[in-house]
């Protein structure tokens, strides 16, 4: 009997574990190690952050779902990987520390035959002074990265609305809290949900709404932007996104690295090297992501963390990590099997794998501060990576192949993003976008790097309906209810 250990129970880890358990049936063991007791459909946290949904609407208890699926569930966080075992034993294992009430702090060595690192990100609030400490959010801003953060955000938003109803003006600052952030899409969706909420509350005229991000221009989204064929033109997403902002009366600051946050003011450096400040009454600034800080040790106890992980803490896989200038980047640089090059029974999926480089063009200020978005690899790409890795491991366990049989290359996969506002069937709206591939391939698609038949964006009710359907569909799938395998990633 082989044991597959999945570190992390987010989109990538949960998908990998669910499929592995289904394909391996009871012949082998699948173990999930995740510090959280509840699974969170993170995209819907945006709606929690404006008080439109509750925590229960976007989370559920993992234990009963894993029990039903025959998955061993350990509520714990991974501390270290020992891919060669330890003195006296060559059986590889991970060290985990339990986080459940009953076993809090208990350390366990968990042996594995195959390991999937899907730990997701450390929310690195501490990278920006004043934004937080370590992975803990500070007191000056709010966040929608977790359901609990989003509940807090909704509470703070209500306070601002109350002030506006009393006649006070409020400035809202939404965007990224560091020059190396990703996940602009979440902030993009949140600012539009707040705008919609303020409009519904009849206080929009009291709000000054400001976007701030590390993108070189609006609509970059960390993937080097895209082009949309619409109205007889091939339009850059900068135009598409600026249009949405202008229509709703939003201001925007781009090319900004927020370098310090204080009570009511965010200080930032621009790509031009200027030091500026933006005051706010309410701010939601996404923190930068880092690896969760896993360590790795060889058989003799030597620290091999730097061989397994990139300096940012993400796990190295079958990507081309050779440093090269932007002009020489290729779609082939991106990993396909997500297998660790040193240990063939170790894989990474979702945010946990180390990208070979950015997708957007790198940029830094005259002071040498890098100000550019890091690659997005959440949602649909994460789930597809988890499924591909699980399929490869199942084939390897069953002896069908010695090498991974499935791939999930970000330069060969697309992504769909729907930013929706409002709750009513007819009162909401959304910007629906798809892009294929996520990483542009200028050899295959010389003009835009993308397949224009599969890359589009439009605003309307239709996207709003899709977003709501997706919310229920993905929660259904994550709960492994009847027919869950029929719902695509």
């Amino acid at each position: 009997m082989a044991r597959v250990v999945v570190l992390g129970g987010g989109v990538a880890g949960h998908t990998a574990a669910s499929f592995a358990a289904k394909w391996l049936e009871n012949e082998h063991e699948v173990v999930v190690v995740t510090p959280n007791a509840r699974w969170n459909w993170i995209p819907s946290n945006i709606w929690v952050g404006v008080g439109q949904m509750s925590k229960d609407d976007v989370t559920f208890e993992l234990a009963p779902v894993y029990k039903k699926a025959g998955i061993t569930y350990k509520q714990a966080k991974a501390i270290s990987i020992h891919p060669e075992g330890k003195k006296g034993s060559d059986k590889n294992f991970v060290t985990i520390e339990h986080t459940s009430k009953g076993d809090m702090g208990k350390v366990e060595e968990l042996e594995y035959d195959y390991l999937i690192n899907a730990t997701g990100p450390k929310l690195n609030f501490g990278a920006t002074p004043g934004l937080g400490v370590g992975s803990q959010m500070g007191n000056h801003t709010v966040s929608v990265c977790t359901a609990d953060h989003a509940i807090h955000a909704a509470h703070e938003l209500e306070k601002s609305i109350k002030k506006m109803k009393a006649g006070q003006e409020q400035t809202f600052l939404i965007g990224t809290g560091h020059g190396m952030c990703t996940c602009q899409g979440a902030a993009f969706e949140y600012i539009f949900n707040i705008e919609h909420k303020l409009r519904s509350a009849g206080v929009r005229d009291k709000a000054n709404m400001v976007w701030i991000s590390n993108e070189q221009f609006l609509g970059d989204f960390g993937m080097g932007a895209m082009h949309i064929d619409r109205g007889g033109y091939r339009t850059h997403s900068k135009v598409f996104t600026e249009s949405i902002f202008a229509e709703r009366g939003l201001n925007w600051i781009t090319r900004a690295h927020v370098n310090k946050v204080e009570e009511g003011v965010a200080h930032y450096e621009t790509l031009e090297g200027e030091m500026k400040s933006q005051e706010f009454d309410f701010a939601m600034l996404i923190p930068p992501f880092a690896g969760v800080g896993l360590k790795a040790y060889a058989n003799d106890g030597e620290d091999i963390t730097d061989k397994i992980f990139a300096p940012n803490g993400f796990m190295k896989v079958d990507a081309d990590y050779t440093p090269k200038p932007y002009e020489e980047w290729s779609a082939d640089d991106w990993p396909s099997t997500l297998q660790n090059p040193l240990y063939s029974n170790m894989f990474a999926a979702g945010i946990a794998f180390a990208p070979p480089h950015l997708i957007s063009k790198p940029a830094s200020s005259p002071n040498g501060t890098p100000i550019n978005p890091t690659p997005p690899r959440t949602g649909m790409p994460s789930a597809m990576m988890g499924k591909a890795v699980a399929a490869s491991i199942c084939d390897m366990i069953k002896g069908r192949s010695e090498k991974p049989t499935h791939t999930a290359k970000m330069s060969q996969m697309g992504a769909a993003c729907v930013a929706s506002t409002g709750k009513g069937i007819f009162s909401g709206t959304a910007a629906a976008m798809t892009v294929y591939p996520v990483v542009p391939d200028y050899e295959k698609y010389p003009e835009t790097g993308r397949d224009q038949n599969l890359t589009f964006g439009e605003v309307g009710l239709a996207g709003h309906w899709i977003k709501h359907i997706l919310h229920y569909l993905f929660l259904w799938k994550a709960k492994l209810r009847v027919g869950w395998t029929l719902i695509p990633e």
């Binding site: 600026e242 249009s243 229509e247 798809t434 605003v459 899709i466 990633e489």
Partner: protein, 50 residues
């Protein structure tokens, strides 16, 4: 920074939807058609990605 729609300010330049476009965005019949079209497009992206 509150009003950015005057000449030479940032929101003065981007295209903005006219009345017809706004109407079509909320026209249930048209949006139902777009709903089907967008779903088909997304299914194509998903199919090509797997």
């Amino acid at each position: 920074m509150k009003n950015n729609t005057k000449p030479y300010e940032q929101a003065y330049f981007p295209p903005k939807p006219n009345g017809f476009t706004k109407f079509m965005r909320t026209c249930v019949i048209w949006q139902f058609i777009r709903f089907i079209v967008i779903n088909l497009k997304m299914m194509r992206v998903i199919a090509k990605s797997h």
